[in-house]
């Protein structure tokens, strides 16, 4: 009863002083809207980074060899030796290039990868037809190929390519298998490729040795030690020239970008906290003014039977209405700015709804905390003193 009346009185008073109320809320509005904007955009940014690396698997290390002097690559045996390291599940070396694939009068440009049998479990490919490459294919440098689903459909349509011939840059290869489609990730399409035995590829692409390979650890926990062992081996091979190779851990990248974003969030939260507290001080200031201006009103209300608690509630609600209104306007502005940023950046941004909720609650409590002292002072005014002031 008196509760609703108090809210109504608070609203009337806040709305009755529009400009003053707005200026008072400004601190809260700026605080809340900037937090929502920055956290939403920041999170989106981190998600983009982590999303890109997600496809790479969490317990894989990508090794690339830049080389040094005349040694610009590792031999197949040297790479294979890494599979003996403690904690390594498998090693999958790759030689990449591109080729024009042709069958009958149809042709397409595809990326060509020389791989070993380990490539399939590592990349999680399923076969749609035929078989995958075997060790023996590599040993005898067989001219056999496994086609990605896209290449297969471009060259053979709905027909079955297994057993057919495909010409890569004019050289005939026999198709032994076709992969299930997998979509795209950071490294491009997974389906627009032709896989051939690694030794065959070495000759076909006229490269010597292996310049990139993936090492998969048994468990995520093994990754740091595997990485250390790999680096030790490579360091030895390249005589203490760490610029000759690079061991890349996608998970480490994800974690470090998550750490950065967590740190950013904390820093932003503190800045927001400070701006909200400054806003709260503004509210307290205006409430003290309001109580002083309305001393006579308080006296009249008390003469008519208002209890201390009624007066306390009236001014508390006024302060809470001010700060919560500010919070709501700030949320509106924050969401508006975020959608504007999303348009400018050209990608959809998820609003940080948890931050929206938290900042609303925070602005509510700011009103509560900074309203207590002026409201208490108002409630304690003695009726005759209040009635005598003008």
């Amino acid at each position: 009863m008196i509760f609703f009346q108090s809210i109504r009185m608070a609203m009337t008073s806040v709305i009755g002083n529009k400009i003053r109320s707005f200026l008072t809320m400004l601190g809260i509005i700026i605080g809340v809207s900037s937090v929502i904007l920055v956290v939403s955009v920041g999170r989106n940014f981190t998600n983009q980074i982590t999303g890109q690396f997600d496809g790479l698997g969490t317990n894989q290390l990508m090794v690339s060899i830049m080389g040094m002097g005349v040694t610009s690559s590792l031999t197949y045996e040297e790479v294979d030796a890494f599979s003996q390291l403690q904690g390594v599940d498998l090693v999958s070396p790759t030689i990449s290039g591109s080729a024009t694939a042709k069958s009958g009068n149809r042709h397409t440009d595809a990326s060509l990868e020389g791989v070993t049998p380990n490539y399939r479990p590592l990349k999680n490919y399923q076969l749609r037809a035929g078989r995958f490459l075997l060790d023996i294919d590599s040993q005898y440098r067989q001219a056999v190929a496994v086609l990605g689903s896209e290449v297969a459909s471009k060259l053979y349509g709905a027909g079955n390519p297994v057993g057919q011939d495909v010409r890569l840059n004019g050289i005939p290869f026999k198709v032994v298998g076709v992969l299930q489609p997998k979509g795209s990730d950071l490294s491009g399409s997974n389906d627009d490729k032709v896989l051939i035995p690694i030794a065959t590829a070495e000759r076909f692409l006229q490269t010597k040795g292996i310049q990139s390979f993936v090492v998969k650890a048994v468990n995520r926990q093994d990754v740091p030690s595997v990485k250390a062992q790999l680096e030790a081996g490579l360091n030895h091979k390249f005589k203490n020239h760490p610029e000759a190779y690079n061991v890349f851990d996608a998970q480490e990248m994800i974690e470090s970008s998550e750490k950065t974003s967590a740190m950013m969030s904390t820093a932003l939260a503190s800045i927001a906290g400070i701006s909200l507290i400054v806003g709260g001080i503004g509210i307290m200031n205006i409430m003290i003014m309001s109580v002083n201006e309305r001393t006579r009103e308080i006296g009249i209300r008390k003469a008519l039977g208002a209890k201390k608690s009624n007066i306390l509630m009236q001014f508390m609600f006024e302060s809470i209405v001010l700060s919560s209104f500010g919070g709501l306007i700030g949320i509106g502005a924050g969401i508006g700015l975020t959608s504007l940023a999303s348009k400018l950046l050209g990608n959809p941004i998820d609003y940080a709804w948890d931050i929206v909720l938290i900042s609303f609650l925070f602005s509510f409590f700011i009103g509560l905390v900074f309203g207590i002292s002026p409201a208490y002072k108002a409630s304690r005014l003695r009726p005759i003193h209040a009635l005598r002031t003008d």
Partner: protein, 231 residues
Amino acid sequence: MSTEPLIRMENLQHGYTMAGQRTLILQGISFTIDHGEFVAIIGPSGSGKSTLMNMIGCLDLPNEGNYLLDGQNVRKLSDNRLARIRNEKIGFIFQNFNLLPKLSAIENVELPLIYRGVSYRERKRNAEEALIKVGLQERMHHRPNQLSGGQQQRVAIARALAGQPPLLLADEPTGALDPKTGKEVMSMLQSLNAQGHTIILITHDLEIAEQAKRVIRIHDGQVAEDRRIEL
């Protein structure tokens, strides 16, 4: 009617300390007022009439002496109880009206009912009735600054009446009004007294005081005269 008077003042003393100097304003006031009386309190300016009125209205507590309202010693009551007494038993009418400028006439009249916890509909009805009683049915939604002085004082009377308190306190209710409007307010108070309200009226206008049924004159902080007016 109870045998206990509505108001019993026993040797009431009250003073103020100004700039370290203590002045005793009320220096031992004693009287009783029964239900249904119409009392005018008169005295020169500064004699302590308003101070006494604040005591009677429970807006302030006396330094010394006892004040029994309906048999209850107000010095022993908590702030909340005093607020309830002001709300239920007393209706104030001030010289300067003391209306809240941002509220309409009817909202001003509703105030004591809000603090009593009366429901919205009943509150509106009571407030309307009170405003009709003082002849302001046409001005219910006007703000105080849209009303004449006499109309404002009638809103204040309606506000004092709305909660049907037994006791009406009027501190120079005609002081800010021209003689004609003053007379209207006085006849309104007389008819309220006829309806059973106890009325205490403060004035320094003897002519107005003569319209009450009893006159108490305060001088030098004491009751100098207490007489009934013969009809």
